[in-house]
Symmetry: C2
Subunit: 210 residues, 2 copies
């Protein structure tokens, strides 16, 4: 745990802060598909991601989903922080996109460290900043792009975070993430295949040249 933590966060956190994290944090290793958090959950701790990727989803009253963005190594969840501060319930759902390692830090330490460590302060601010911009770009995609462009962007991003040109998803899975319907996604994927950009298979697809 200490090695992992130092490797990923050693450059940005002071030695002393690293030690504190080791003392109070709990190391966690979770498999793909692990659900960290459901909408409406109260937040127990703050995750520091060491490896793997977590996908963050939004859901409306009718159960319609939408992929917001991925957290990757070195990231933390700004939503969590936002929720802690206000003692609010989670607004999002978080699911491990790949196997992942992380450290959970009790939220009480947040405020303490923010006062004490400059590096922590910067880390937290930077997280907010990155998350805001990530949300903005998600919003751009939805507001300004058509489904075919969004689909291409989705496939690229998914290939990037999983570091794999094979996307292990059914058409229905993709439809959920993009808040569309299976038929629409099948239609568009077929077009992409005809254009030679991807190759379709049952339960997965290959990215050839996006």
């Amino acid at each position: 745990m200490i090695q992992d933590l130092k490797e990923e966060y050693g450059d940005i956190f002071e030695e002393e802060l690293i030690n504190e994290i080791v003392q109070v944090g709990t190391f966690k290793e979770v498999p793909e598909g692990y659900k960290f958090m459901e909408i409406g959950d109260y937040i127990r701790g703050m995750p520091l991601l060491i490896s793997g990727a977590i996908k963050i989803l939004r859901e409306d009253e009718d159960g319609d989903e939408l992929l917001l963005y991925y957290l990757e190594k070195g990231d933390t969840c700004s939503m969590t922080m936002a929720c802690c501060m206000g003692d609010k319930k989670s607004e999002i759902r978080a699911i491990a996109e790949t196997d992942a390692k992380l450290i959970m830090v009790p939220i009480q330490k947040m405020e303490e460290w923010t006062a004490k460590y400059k590096s922590w302060r910067n880390f937290v601010f930077n997280s907010y900043h990155v998350r805001l911009n990530e949300l903005l770009s998600t919003l751009d995609n939805i507001a300004f792009q058509k489904m075919d462009e969004r689909l291409i962007g989705y496939l690229k991003e998914k290939a990037r975070v999983t570091n794999d040109n094979i996307i292990h998803s059914t058409h229905q899975d993709i439809a959920y993430d993009l808040h569309s319907s299976r038929v629409v996604i099948s239609r568009l994927l077929k077009k992409l295949e005809e254009m030679g950009k991807i190759k379709l298979h049952r339960n997965y697809l290959e990215i050839l040249d996006l």
Copy 2:
């Protein structure tokens, strides 16, 4: 200026911090329509809004606009903070929705005050938090709602921030904010009028019962 500041922020900032703000901040009074910031601008300072409302817009490469949210009294612009930290250009456009009073604080003070004043730290975190949630709800609207619902929400929100049941906008203005087209908005507004919810006029409309 001091009275205005104390009235709006006296409860949340320490006396000492208020004094610092007065010393280094510049008071500004701007008319409706004043453009604070354009996309790509470098950020000069951080605004503390005392009265009025500022609308924050996103724009894509093709010049298509989209209203993100309004800043109101007691708010500050998290985007500004995010930008300062990274020394980045603005991702958004900011325009006074009504006449507005505010205090501009040099961005160099940000970091200093964050270390020094707990109240400032809380204020900044809270701003990020509020802004994240505001962005999320904007995203919800766009992703999960149809145009007619979005239009109703837009009219309500606009009436709220301007504190006026008369919306002084042309159909084209509304279309820009919602990233739609004039004809579509006219069509939907007409329906709302037929339902007795609004009354249409040239260059403005009245909200009757939304």
